[in-house]
Structures are given as structure tokens and as C-alpha cells.
Symmetry: C2
Subunit: 367 residues, 2 copies
DNA sequence: TTGAAAGCGCTAACAC
DNA sequence: GTGTTAGCGCTTTCAA
């Protein structure tokens, strides 16, 4: 009868204590790793009782008592977008590694959904929120921060979340675009254009800025930017499929330019993808007639033909830094806000012709 | 002082009751929608107090008391795979619609991770788990089911989860492959091959079965299957990128066949994608020289050039059915297990030449 | 080194 | 209609 009860309801810390012939306090100490000053026999009897009863501590009770929760909220536009999908996987893994779980919130870039999600998460007792979807309502943000919720803003443009005690982690967009240009210039390309979609979000604007800066630095002028102002603003949900079509349209525009550029930097993989398709339709060979390099370097860039050369965001590092920020703030709520800016890296593909393929292993062996 | 305390700690149901001049019971009733037999003034005073205090009920306390939790666990291989990404978005939306949240668990198809995730979820008090990653340990499964956790198995091959009181939702794989063949035959293609990757999981085997069946039904013999037995089993994590390369290799094999087939059905979008790339490399035009149709119909299929014609899994319906199953089982733990099999649909693209494009609107108007 | 007891915030009997 | 009360399972002083 009692056995049966335990089976259905689950054993409690009391049951374990009774079976081990100790007090609930000792079991609690055991569970929380305070085994240093505990008798050997006590410890082993507790261990036996726990496994015999199949005891699992109740997270709800623990949370009610401590006010802490091992669950994080992750807000992003949509994991159907491969970039955010990869980011979600990396964050899930980084969270797991330190015993945290992640609630997924696909906001579809809708501020109302975003606010709803945050309210729910807070009601659920979540004490850490990672937001890759721009949190627009800074008042609400700081209200939650006051109440002890740690926020990390991901992929925010600019270097400042604008709210006290909020951290941020982002890839250096300016550097990303610059790296793309550097790679092209290093391989003999000179007439480089930048292909971007509208609207020019701050995020996208930064990449353009990086492009112009790098071109100037190489003494190649400002550099031309190709964009299609006439494309109607796409509904957020289907935005991604649109971007590829859009890249295809941009390919036509680029092919018509006089003189025709010899390389193009794409705002992201989807645009790069579309460019590849469009250039192919126009019988232009990549990379012999024109090179393409894209920013982001998601899984998607591995699917194209030729495989896209890309500037890859360090997704794993972003994830690790974000989790680190959350835990740091839990440890010290009052520490000042920090902005972590990470460097992107070149992910070689086959859409840029390389002058000399340097043999990294050999040269480092020689030194 | 008290004000300040409320700000930091959050108001409780007691605070609300005191401010409204009623008992906690009434507030609880109000919160849980039992407002039918409640005085008008009581109700409005509670509402005022709640908003004045910014009161948010504690999910932990509620869960501790009721044993229920508004959070579901979602196990899948990885949301970096666009198919699972889309599935996750659909499930998140369906869950949101009925006030539930979703914890994301990327198992990478690793049984150990899977078991860990489930143990954690159960410890968190989660009472509903959706698993698109095959749950192999049926003993563990039924143990949790005994304790009141509702399970829904997603995309399981075959019609039977094999555990009592467990539901399943899946697309009809046999029908999916058959639909692909039907569409090709209806458009004049006869010599059709099926391109698949190894290992032949039950899931993949069903699609092959559907292919053979449809070919026979059309009097076209068994139909040939192309596969590359020599490809080493790929590590789960990078499996997706590999599949595209694999499709590219299969294209060569298909081009070499005597006689050369005029159409190919791809096991999934990634393979279809690779085929497109490989056929392009071989100077074969799609769909003029050879048609390609893929199964799944994810966002990915919209990115290719030409856009892939695909048999699309009804992802939104899968999500809705899954959430429905969970709630149904919560309502009646003892109801018998059910298997929901959903039909896929044709998603037209440009990789199959269509004999006659029928004008659906016109014909339906005439009838 | 271990135990007793209070209470986290909520819900659900059960009184009034 | 509304209020009183007893826990849900855990952690954490404080005592022994």
C-alpha cells in the first residue's frame, strides 16, 4: 500500500530520511553536496535509500524555498532560421553543461509576443533570460532586472544595451564585413560590391559600415552597395525564404553593372545562396567570373554549389559567453553591465578563387 | 519599507487579499477563473489590487500544490536541422496557444543524452514530453508513464509506439513516397529512381517501401533505388551537411545509369539539394534532362535553384495533434494509446516539368 | 555531526 | 459568497 503510493506519487525527502534512519536535513545536505563533514555510514545509507526509492527531488519545492530556478528563457525570432537554430543548439549545450535547461521562445520578431513570453517566463520563476530578439521595451526590461532576473542581449547592434545591469554578447559585425573584404583583396579581387536587403536594421548597417571602412583602408574607394529598395517589406515569418529570392534578384542587378564587379560580399548566407542561384541562371561562373562570400557561415552555406566561402560567427563562443554572463550576474547582481564582442572567423569554401593556398601545418612546423 | 519589500520579493496572494480586503481563497478563485459565483465588488477589488501590486502568481508554489506544470519537454535531434527547426517552431506556437511553454532538448540522437534530458525534465516536474528523437528505452518510458507523465512520440516509423498509454503522431511515409511517384507519373515521367542515404532506418525504409509500391501500382516494375553503401556512417552532429554532399555523389551515380532515369525521388530535402548541385556540375538540366522531387518540403527546398518540388510534411498539423494528445491524456490518463497518421501534401516547385498546370480556382468555380 | 521546526506561496477541503 | 486552515516537499536557521 505504502509501496504503491510511493510508486505513483514519488518518494519525498521524508521517505528517504525515514528509510535511511536519518533526518531530512541530512538528506538535504547530501543532495546539495555538503558531504564534507558527514559520517561515512550516514552518507552511504542515504545513497542506498535514494536509489532504492528512485527518489527524485522536487524542483518545484526547491524553487519555492530558494527562489532560484535551473531554467533559462531563450528568446529568438525563430529556430526555423538556420542561424538561430544553430545558436539555440549551442546555447542548449552550454546550458546543459552547467545543469541548466532552456525554454524556447520563438518571437517571430513580434514585440507583443516577446513581452508575453517574458511575462510568462518571469511567472514561471525563470531568473535568467537570453534574448536574441531585440527587446524593445527597456522600461519593462529594467523592471525585471530590479526583481533579480538576469538578462543577456544577443546579437545587439552597437555596444550598449542601454539598461543598467544588463549584459550583451555579439559578434563584431564591422569586423565581419571587413574580414570578407580582406579575404577578397588578399586573393586579388578589387572591384567588390556589397549585397544587402532592406530595411537597413542597425545590425545590417554595421556590416555595411565595416565594408566601406575596409574598402577605404585598402585604397579601393567607398565600395558600391547593391540593394533593392523596391522590394516590399516582407512578413517576418516568411522573411527567410524571401531573402534567397531576393539574392537571386540582386544577381541580375550586379550582372548589369558597368563595369561588372569581380566579387560580391553578401549580407548573410541566404542572400549569398540566392546570388549563387541567380548568377548561375545568368551563366556566370562562380568563382571564375565572379566571387561570392557571405557573412554568418551557417550550415546552409555548406549546402550550396559551389560551397559558400563565409565569414562565420563564433556561435559556440557566443553561447558560452552568454551562459557565463548569466551565471556571473547571478553571483553578483550589482556588477556593472558588460558587452562581450566576439570576432568572426573565415570559413573557406569554394566560392572565392584563392591565389595561394597556404599550408598552415607546414609553416607552423617550420617555426 | 514594506513597499520596497514587495518590489524586490514580489507580491503574494496574501498581499493581494489584504489590499482587496478579501481572503486568499477568493483571490485564488479569481485567478483560476472561478468568477461565476463571485460578487461584483469582490471581483473588481481583486482586479485592482492585482494590477496595483503588479502581482504575478508563483508557478513554483502552484506546481508544488497541484502537481501540475505548464511546461512541456521537446526532445529532438537538433534544431540546427531545418526540419526539426520548423517542427520546434510549430510546436512552440501550438503550445503557446493553450498556455504551455516548451523546454528545448537537442539530443543529437544520443541515447544517453536523451535519457539524461528525460530524467531532468521529470525532476523539473514536467508532465508532458514530446519526443521526435527515438526513445529507445521503453522500460524507462513506461516507468514515467506510470507516474503520470504524458508522452507523445513524433515521427515514429510503424504505427505502434509499443508502450501502453503512449500516443504517437507521424506523417505517412509510405504515402509521401507514393505521392512523389504519382506526381511524376502524372507529368509523364516513367523511369524513376529513388535516392536514399544509408543506414536504412525504419523511417527511411518506409519511404522506400512507398516508392516500390507506387511504382508497381503504376505498372512500372519495382523501381530502382540508388544508395551509397560505401559512405561511412556519419557522426550524428554533422550528419546534415554530409547528406548534401552525399546527394551530390548520388547525382554522378544516377547520370552513369543505363538507361539514364528521367526522374529521381530524393529521401529528403538535403539529398534533393545535393542532387541538384551534382546534376548541375554534370551539365544536366533540371527539370528538362531530369526531374527531382524531394520529401519533407522544409524551408530549405525554397532556397535551391531551381526551387525543389517537394512532398511536404504537414508540420503545423503534426504540432497541433501532438499538443492535443498531451492534453487528452492529461484529461484521461487511462485512455488507450493512439497513433495519429497524417497525410503529406504536394508543394510545387520548379524541379519537375508539369504537363498541364491545372487552374484550381477556375475549375472549382465552374462546379 | 546530526535533528527539529518553521515557512516559501499557493490550492482545496471544509466551515460559516 | 467568502473565510479558515492544513499542507504540497524542500531548505535553513538554530539547538543539541
Amino acid at each position: 500500500m505504502l509501496e504503491r503510493d510511493l510508486l505513483v506519487r514519488g518518494a519525498t525527502i521524508q521517505d528517504v530520511a525515514r528509510r535511511a534512519g536519518v533526518s531530512p536535513t541530512s538528506v538535504s545536505n547530501y543532495l546539495n553536496g555538503r558531504v564534507g563533514e558527514m559520517g561515512e555510514s550516514t552518507r552511504s545509507r542515504i545513497a542506498e535509500a535514494i536509489s532504492a526509492l528512485g527518489y527524485v527531488p522536487s524542483a518545484a519545492a526547491r524553487q519555492l524555498k530558494t527562489g532560484r530556478s535551473p531554467i533559462l528563457g531563450l528568446l529568438l525570432p525563430t529556430v526555423a532560421n538556420p542561424f538561430y537554430g544553430e545558436l539555440a543548439v549551442a546555447i542548449d549545450a552550454a546550458a546543459q553543461a552547467v545543469g541548466l535547461r532552456v525554454i524556447l521562445c520563438n518571437t517571430q520578431r513580434n514585440p507583443a509576443r516577446e513581452a508575453d513570453f517574458i511575462a510568462q517566463l518571469v511567472a514561471d520563476g525563470v531568473k535568467g533570460i537570453l534574448a536574441a530578439s531585440a527587446v524593445s521595451d527597456t522600461q519593462m526590461l529594467s523592471r525585471h532586472v530590479e526583481r533579480g532576473v538576469a538578462f543577456v542581449l544577443l546579437e545587439v547592434p552597437g555596444r550598449n544595451p542601454g539598461v543598467a545591469h544588463v549584459d550583451s554578447v555579439a559578434t563584431d559585425n564591422i569586423q565581419a564585413a571587413a574580414l570578407a573584404v580582406d579575404h577578397l583583396v588578399a586573393n586579388g579581387y578589387r572591384d567588390i560590391v556589397y549585397a544587402t536587403a532592406t530595411p537597413l536594421t542597425p545590425h545590417r548597417a554595421e556590416r555595411i559600415e565595416g565594408f566601406h571602412g575596409a574598402m577605404r583602408r585598402h585604397g579601393l574607394g567607398e565600395g558600391r552597395v547593391v540593394t533593392d529598395e523596391f522590394l516590399p517589406a516582407s512578413p517576418a515569418a516568411s522573411g527567410d525564404a524571401r531573402l534567397a529570392d531576393y539574392g537571386r534578384a540582386l544577381a541580375k542587378e550586379i550582372a548589369r553593372m558597368e563595369p561588372r564587379p569581380d566579387a560580391v560580399v553578401a549580407m548573410n548566407d541566404a542572400i549569398g545562396f540566392g546570388l549563387l542561384a541567380g548568377l548561375h541562371d545568368l551563366q556566370l561562373h562562380v568563382p571564375n567570373d565572379i566571387a561570392v562570400i557571405s557573412i554568418d557561415g551557417t550550415l546552409l552555406s555548406r549546402f550550396s554549389s559551389p560551397q559558400l566561402t563565409a565569414i562565420r560567427q563564433p556561435i559556440e563562443d557566443i553561447a558560452a559567453a552568454a551562459i557565463e554572463c548569466i551565471r556571473g550576474r547571478w553571483a553578483d547582481r550589482r556588477r556593472s553591465g558588460r558587452a562581450v564582442i566576439l570576432s568572426p572567423v573565415l570559413a573557406p569554401g569554394a566560392s572565392v578563387r584563392e591565389l595561394a593556398r597556404r599550408d598552415a601545418t607546414a609553416s607552423s612546423d617550420l617555426r
